[in-house]
């Protein structure tokens, strides 16, 4: 169960090697979280991540999960919930893609959309239903400021996150009053392996800062969390900027 401050005792991370996912898990394990499920494609990295959390004293299990195989989600995720309540699901998988290549190769662009959006729909719905029958729990969805307004430099990734973001908001409304809390997290540029080698955007942040914002959001039962918080204002201005102007902005 979650305690009075929203800290979960059990956590399921979809995208078990995600840096933000693991930073969040570390933070929560240091508080109350004792059981962690890391769901991801079986790999040495996934096992290494599990071992690191075990060293912190958590009971960690890994489970095979592939965002690109939605047919398998019902089974792979469903069985986790039969083993006990999950207080928080963190939907942390996603790929950035390579905008230039993806524009040239439509199929690799589709892969970005299938991972970030289609995969999230099936996994999100499977988890939402399980949480609903528990009568409690949080579904935390990692969206992105890139989904707030499509930019020339990464509109393929951005559009997939826009779809995910809209889906998560709607799901949050659908689950309102069921005891399940859906929280959309919109980080800005996060310094991580996903963005290694890319030119840093203004107001860049870190996985640890996102993790901290998630913990605060859980305590406040927030529906939307921006990281850093000031991005809420910045993006609100950018979203309403006229397109001829927006096109010319160095964002």
């Amino acid at each position: 169960m979650k305690d009075a401050f929203g800290t979960p005792q059990s956590l399921l991370v979809l995208g078990g090697t995600s840096e933000i996912g693991l930073a969040t898990a570390r933070r929560l394990v240091a508080r109350r979280t004792r059981t962690v499920w890391l769901a991801g494609r079986p790999s040495a990295d996934l096992e290494k991540a599990a071992a690191a959390l075990r060293d912190m004293g958590a009971d960690v299990r890994t489970v095979a999960f592939d965002a690109l195989d939605p047919e398998s989600h019902e089974e792979s995720l469903g069985k986790i919930f039969t083993e006990g309540d999950i207080d928080m699901v963190l939907l942390a998988f996603g790929i950035l893609g390579d905008q230039a290549r993806d524009e040239d190769e439509p199929l690799s662009a589709v892969r970005v959309a299938q991972t970030n959006y289609t995969g999230a729909i099936s996994a999100g719905l499977v988890c939402a239903r399980a949480l609903q029958s528990q009568g409690h729990g949080s579904l935390v969805v990692l969206s992105s400021v890139a989904g707030e307004r499509a930019r020339r430099s990464n509109f393929i990734y951005g559009s997939s996150k826009a779809g995910l973001d809209a889906f998560a908001q709607g799901l949050g409304d659908a689950l309102h009053g069921t005891g399940v809390h859906v929280m959309v997290v919109r980080p800005g540029f996060v310094r991580s392996k996903m963005t290694a080698g890319l030119e840093e955007a203004p107001m860049a942040t870190t996985p640890d800062a996102v993790a901290e914002a998630i913990e605060t959001g859980l305590r406040r039962r927030s529906e939307t969390v921006w990281v850093p918080g000031a991005l809420r204002v910045v993006m609100s201005a950018l979203r309403h900027a006229p397109r001829p102007l927006f096109r010319r902005l160095p964002v």
């Binding site: 169960m1 309540d85 005891g179």
Partner: protein, 458 residues
């Protein structure tokens, strides 16, 4: 789950949804327990437990307020010199408020009342509540002569003191079964007024010295303590102590003389349903505490107060828990034994150094404990405070206090808890394993279950 409702404790943190079932007869109660489904059920009274003791995510919550009848009041037992006093047999969902309405005009009072009248008899046993008279009278279960308990197999048992089932149920947070009715001993009173002595203590040491030296002279005793006061004033407080006023204490021509047993608690308008977050910060609570301390008389004796004023000042404001805003609040109540005064001082200093805005901090001395396995009171000092839940870093701060409490062989109160670390619990409650074993035996499928029991693995 179309009939699911959101349920939370009085602190309004961590709400979960459950199916609410309101039995009105014993047969309906048996049916409700039989049909509660695979996520089990938990009895709930008037929802005054601060944390998650009376919620059950995804399962059933048995609203006991439909079982609220008084069956018999037996005052004949009070006539002999060694007789146990009058008793009442009532259903578990009746509130202490209602019992007072019924019993006071007859010259009887409930044996133990907490800071609110809006708790049920079942809840009073389940949390084994204590009141301002604990140092004299012990906790509620000491005054329970028998109870009818509906257990997981659908059968009803009459449970009497001195049995393992009684000791597991008194303070057992509703997890041994559903209490259907109870026989409770009563306290004779001549009037419905209290004769109250008030005095101020300038700091914590002064307060503890006064309490230790004079507590035994009063049936009821409590100290309000200003936890925001720092330095030399740390622990400054107002003591209010007293007893039921005898008839001859009422002034000869007072109106109260004509109806000395009248029970008329007043009520103010309810707190609004929306209160902005952060209303109770350090500044506002500090100001309140300053005024509260200054307005108390340095010393006053024999003041006549209504029962509601003396025992239940907050009941005058319905839904007062809303003043903390949407984020809710947590109650922290712990006890450390006599001889562990240093631990108490250290904890008070930490709270005061940190500046926790608590305006309902209460210190009192407990007397002998009762045999309930998870019963909270034990001989020692108990401090209760409430803090807005949205205070950053509060979770880890309270964890640190838990460690101080556990190291001093003290414990925190489960009826108020919403955040204890499960690992810390066993150190605080040495009979926890007996409780778990009895439950495993009595209720192997876990029919009686709550968010509290899941969170703390009870």
């Amino acid at each position: 789950m179309s009939d699911a409702v959101s349920v939370s404790g009085w602190g309004r943190t961590a709400p979960t949804t459950a199916r609410l079932v309101r039995p009105r007869t014993q047969e309906e109660a048996v049916a409700a327990v039989r049909d509660c489904g695979e996520r089990g059920g938990i009895p709930r009274g008037l929802g005054r437990a601060y944390g998650d003791a009376a919620q059950n995510a995804g399962g059933a919550v048995f609203d006991m307020t439909g079982l609220d009848r008084v069956r018999t009041i037996d005052t004949t037992r009070g006539s002999g010199t060694d007789a146990p006093g009058a008793t009442v047999v009532c259903e578990a969902g009746i509130s202490l408020h209602r019992l007072m309405e019924v019993l006071l005009p007859l010259g009887w009072f409930v044996p133990v009342t907490p800071g609110t009248r809006y708790v049920t008899v079942g809840g009073a046993i389940g949390a084994d509540i204590h009141g301002k008279n604990h140092h004299v009278s012990g906790s509620f279960s000491r005054h329970v002569l028998a109870m009818d308990l509906l257990t997981a197999d659908g059968t009803v048992h009459t449970v009497t003191p001195g049995t393992p089932l009684f000791d597991a149920t008194a303070g057992g947070m509703g997890l041994t079964g559903m209490i259907l009715s109870a026989t409770v001993q009563l306290q004779p009173v001549e009037t419905s007024l209290m004769s109250v002595d008030t005095e101020r203590a300038t700091d914590l040491d002064d307060l503890m010295a006064r309490l230790a030296a004079t507590d035994h002279r009063y049936r009821y005793s409590v100290a309000w303590i200003d936890l925001l006061a720092r330095g030399a004033a740390m622990g400054r407080s107002v003591l209010t102590r007293g007893d039921h006023a005898p008839l001859d204490a009422l002034p000869a021509r007072a109106r109260a003389r004509r109806a000395p047993l009248a029970f008329r608690p007043g009520q103010l308008p309810a707190a609004p349903s929306f209160v902005p977050e952060g209303l109770l910060g350090k500044a506002s609570v500090g100001l309140f505490n300053e005024l509260w301390y200054r307005k108390a008389p340095r010393s006053r004796t024999g003041e006549l107060q209504k029962i509601s004023t003396f025992f239940h000042p907050l009941d005058g404001v319905p839904h007062w828990n809303r003043i903390y805003g949407r984020g809710g609040f947590v109650q922290y109540q712990f006890v450390v034994g006599y001889g562990k005064e240093e631990a108490l001082r250290r904890i008070v200093r930490r709270i005061s150094d940190r500046g926790c805005p608590s305006f309902l901090a209460v210190l009192k001395r407990f007397g002998e404990g009762d045999p309930g396995w998870l019963s909270f009171p034990m001989p020692g000092w108990t401090l209760a405070l409430d803090i807005p839940a949205n205070l950053p870093g509060l979770g880890s701060f309270l964890d640190e206090l838990d460690e101080e409490v556990a190291a001093a062989e003290g414990r925190v109160y489960l009826a108020k808890d919403s955040r204890l670390r499960p690992e810390t619990l066993a150190a605080m409650y040495p009979r926890l394993d007996d409780f778990r074993a009895l439950r495993a035996d009595l209720d192997p499928r876990g029919v009686f279950r709550s968010d509290l029991s899941r969170r703390l693995d009870l």
